[in-house]
Symmetry: C2
Subunit: 259 residues, 2 copies
């Protein structure tokens, strides 16, 4: 499977509906792919570089963000300065929804590489979508997806051991690649071993050891952060998660498009 290269770095300002990426973005929640083109709220796009903040924890909530390309980490910080990476949003993922309830963002959102990101001013979005049942449902679906994702993560971190967590993580990255029309077996990890460890609640050393072990067992081929190949079925077997095997992944994508 060859990666499908889309014009990701091209900025898009204006209506969401006229954005080339929108079928992989908001569009993926809409039943009718033409409906995606009707989305008429304003978006503005900007490019960030490695280490740039999209927003800070504690900053006043104003907008939701959609990642168009690149990868981000969202970091929650305890009062005594300990950090927990809650996720690595990539293309088609949204950021910032956790800030609405309290009126301030709950995490730091930091670019891991060059990121193209859409800003959706929340008040504008809400005003524009008043009376638009489809858009309202879309927004709630977006939020629901985040709730579900966090619950899955709680399950992964709570009930799986180090090896299973690592396998699950790799499969999740692979699945995200597939969703974006890229190869699920060949891609680059945007985050460091330390970031992976923090996210999975494992020491950096454990992450390193597990990756080496997977390589030795022939489950994955990589150099540094470049993954050349991974055995999806083998990893799914380890992780106790069938949902990430290739036939299953294809099915998931198919049903997702029906919704």
């Amino acid at each position: 499977m060859t990666p499908k290269i889309l014009p990701l770095n091209q900025l898009h300002n204006g209506k969401c509906g006229s954005c080339a990426r929108n079928k992989l973005c908001f569009g993926r929640f809409l039943a009718d792919s033409n409906a995606a083109e009707q989305l008429d709220f304003e978006i503005s796009n900007r490019i960030l570089h490695r280490g740039d903040h999209i927003f800070y924890s504690g900053q006043e909530f104003s907008s939701l963000y959609m990642v168009r390309s690149g990868h981000v980490k969202t970091v929650m910080v305890t009062e005594d300065g300990e950090e927990q990476i809650t996720g690595f949003p990539g293309p088609g993922d949204s950021i910032g929804a956790d800030g609405l309830a309290a009126g301030q963002y709950a995490v730091d959102a930091i670019a891991l590489d060059t990121v193209s990101i859409c800003t959706l001013h929340f008040d504008h979005l809400l005003r524009t979508s008043t009376g638009e049942e489809d858009v309202q449902r879309l927004l709630l679906t977006l939020f629901s997806e985040m709730i579900f994702g966090n619950e899955q993560l709680l399950l992964t971190l709570g009930k799986l051991d180090a090896q299973q967590r690592m396998a699950t993580f790799l499969l999740k990255q692979s699945h995200a690649q597939l969703r974006n029309g890229c190869s699920p077996v060949s891609f680059t990890l945007a985050m460091s071993r330390a970031d992976i460890g923090n996210h999975l609640n494992l020491a950096v050393e454990t992450v390193s050891r597990l990756l080496t072990q997977f390589k030795q067992r022939g489950l994955i081929k990589f150099n540094r952060n470049d993954i050349d190949w991974l055995d999806i079925d083998g990893l799914a077997n380890l992780s106790n998660r069938r949902e990430y095997t290739l036939p299953q992944m294809a099915e998931n994508l198919a049903t997702a498009q029906l919704n």
Copy 2:
């Protein structure tokens, strides 16, 4: 502080706005407390008993639920049957939002004691609220609160040790009591030690040992599941979370009412 007893067991069917509980429920998200009385979507109420399911994981999504009284556990299950309790929703908490994105509930929701619960048929809710900007914002805020809550939980489970997790858990229960106008230092835990352990990713034995230890250190007085008193400041000190100290708790509630 004496517990404020509300007529919780009284069923309420009809408009949300005319429900006696609604200021502790949907109302707590609305700036103007009178606005809560204007909520005009239909609700239906029912009573469940210990062990009853509100819904099952995998069941088709149709409604959101609001707990009026009693306590619930939400359980996510892996393919190999391992269970993770993702939360213990109580009065004023919502359940079911994780089901919208995939069209089916992601967890089992099970009553821990006698529960009075409101059913909000989602399609009806959406239709009724189309054009009502306030209600749209309210629903999104409800979802946002769940996202934030899950992220906080990820931080708690990921970066705190057993003792801190236990302290944080007790403070969270205490805070929930306060929010519902009940005593934050005297209440009954609806869940078993095993449930607490599962939720906090600790063995039952560890939970038991920690509770005993807290009792010996004078941080908490309890018999079985009845908590007679707890040292909020002491526990907050252990848990590294100032947000649960009494002055802070009062402030949180105050600002929450302004929103």
